[in-house]
């Protein structure tokens, strides 16, 4: 086997900076070297985690509106200053009218900017959530076994007692080829969540349950890296199902979990 991939090559691999020849050579090595494959996976997961966390600082709405007003009307600001001096004795009514128009323009610009930022922030949060659950699902697939390994819902559910600030129900019955495999305590958006692991045929599926968030992300479906992501809400819980299984089967599991939350 050739020498291990250097840290710089592993970095460049995660960053998509290898030349085609370097990439081919690295891939050949990774096929035979478990240690480097592990390091490469670690590198990608670290990059992904930094990417998610790196977006955490958002400008306040007030600041965004102020900057939007400044950027939308920079020329106006200059013209106002220049215009008021030579025409100081001019028609006062026209000056007030101009000021009113300018204020309205700036206000509308600021409002549009805030709305636009809100929209972008919501989309960005949704993308971040999709990436986060997909990563957590991949991490579960890479791990040997979940933190609690049991197909018994009466074992899995109590395991979360004291670990989560909410409780949940598991379905009484699952379809014939669907089994509960276990569960993990993990984190989404820095909040503790339950990751329930199911087997659907030969596929693994994760269902994340958490207390209802304040983010506007309910009811979305997405696909990321070949994995289907389905979100649902039930009472005070928010659920997100992730798997590479047929989306209809995943939706069926999500519906069962949602229905289970209505049980006493």
């Amino acid at each position: 086997m050739s020498e291990h991939l250097s840290p710089l090559v592993l970095n460049a691999l995660a960053d998509g900076e290898l030349t085609p020849d370097e990439l081919r050579s690295a891939k050949q090595h990774l096929e035979d070297c478990l240690a480097c494959s592990s390091a490469a996976l670690d590198e990608c997961l670290l990059k992904s985690a930094v990417t998610r966390l790196g977006h955490r600082h958002q400008p306040s709405e007030v600041f965004a509106a102020r900057m939007a007003a400044m950027l939308r009307s920079p020329g106006t600001k200059v013209r106002m200053t220049h215009a008021t001096v030579p025409h100081a004795r001019g028609n006062a009514l026209s000056k007030w009218a101009m000021a009113a128009v300018l204020l309205l323009t700036m206000g509308a610009g600021a409002l549009m900017a805030v709305l636009s930022l809100d929209h972008r922030n919501a989309a960005s949060q949704r993308e971040a959530l999709t990436a986060e659950v997909t990563d957590a699902h991949i991490a579960m697939l890479a791990a040997d076994q979940p933190q609690v390994l049991s197909s018994d819902r009466h074992t899995v559910k109590p395991w979360f007692q004291g670990k989560l600030p909410f409780s949940f129900n598991l379905p009484d019955k699952l379809p014939p080829d669907v089994t509960l495999t276990g569960a993990n305590l993990t984190y989404l958006g820095r909040q503790p969540v339950a990751q329930l692991v199911f087997t659907i045929g030969k596929h693994k599926a994760s269902v994340f349950l958490r207390g209802t968030s304040t983010t506007n992300s309910s009811g979305f479906g997405a696909t990321a890296n070949g994995f289907h992501v389905i979100e649902f809400t039930a009472h005070d819980l928010e659920g997100i199902a992730v798997s590479d299984v047929d989306p209809a089967r995943l939706a069926e599991l999500a519906n069962l979990l949602r229905a289970a939350q209505t049980q006493p």
């Binding site: 250097s6 900076e17 670690d42 990059k47 930094v50 790196g54 965004a64 939308r72």
Partner: protein
């Protein structure tokens, strides 16, 4: 500050030079985020962004249409940070051994990469708070490269041009930054394991 024309060609269409606001406003969240990480203070970050936007607005005539506006604005913001009080304090410590000799290979130590099984790493990475603490401990030269590569998804050459450093320095700083994060997270994991015993 001298605003140098940004010469790197990009695939982006030529921007409308008549509207600085149209180009700069979509960058506001990214600029603020970058400033907040570097300054570690919301108020200072707002001041830095506002000053950078003013400088960009004033120097917009020097910006070459069709070149990379985002990199141009990030460079202005970074220079604003470097000349600020907090920036001057933060940048006093700069790793002198950053330069690497690209002819003889990288001097990044082999132990910068942990080749053990990844299960422990996966658990560590689920701890966002620990990762945030580790990122906040990074020196500004390492943090800025990490943010530009991982958060702003800039290419190495783009970052090298923005920072005005050789490509090898970007690669070296990135490797060192990630190595530092790995070590910090490993330590957190070690403490958690000891506490669990």
């Amino acid at each position: 500050m001298t605003l140098l024309p940004w010469r790197r060609k990009t695939e982006a269409p030529a921007p409308d030079t008549s509207s600085f606001g149209d180009l700069a406003l979509p960058l506001l969240p990214a600029l603020y985020n970058f400033a907040a990480w570097l300054a570690r203070d919301r108020g200072i970050a707002e001041d830095l962004v506002q000053e950078a936007l003013f400088k960009g607005l004033r120097g917009f005539s020097t910006f070459q249409p069709g070149t990379n506006f985002k990199a141009w604005m990030f460079r202005i913001l970074r220079n604003t940070f470097l000349t600020s009080h907090s920036g001057l304090n933060a940048m006093r410590t700069v790793a002198l051994e950053d330069e690497i000799n690209e002819h003889t290979g990288a001097p990044i130590p082999e132990n910068a990469i942990d080749r053990r099984t990844p299960e422990l790493h996966l658990l560590r990475l689920s701890d966002a708070e620990a990762l945030e603490r580790a990122m906040n401990k990074l020196s500004p030269p390492l943090l800025e490269v990490l943010l530009l590569a991982d958060v702003e998804e800039m290419k190495y050459r783009e970052i090298a041009l923005l920072l005005g450093v050789p490509l090898g320095t970007v690669m070296s700083r990135l490797a060192r930054a990630r190595s530092f994060l790995r070590r910090e997270l490993a330590q957190v994991n070690e403490w958690a394991r000891e506490a669990g015993q």
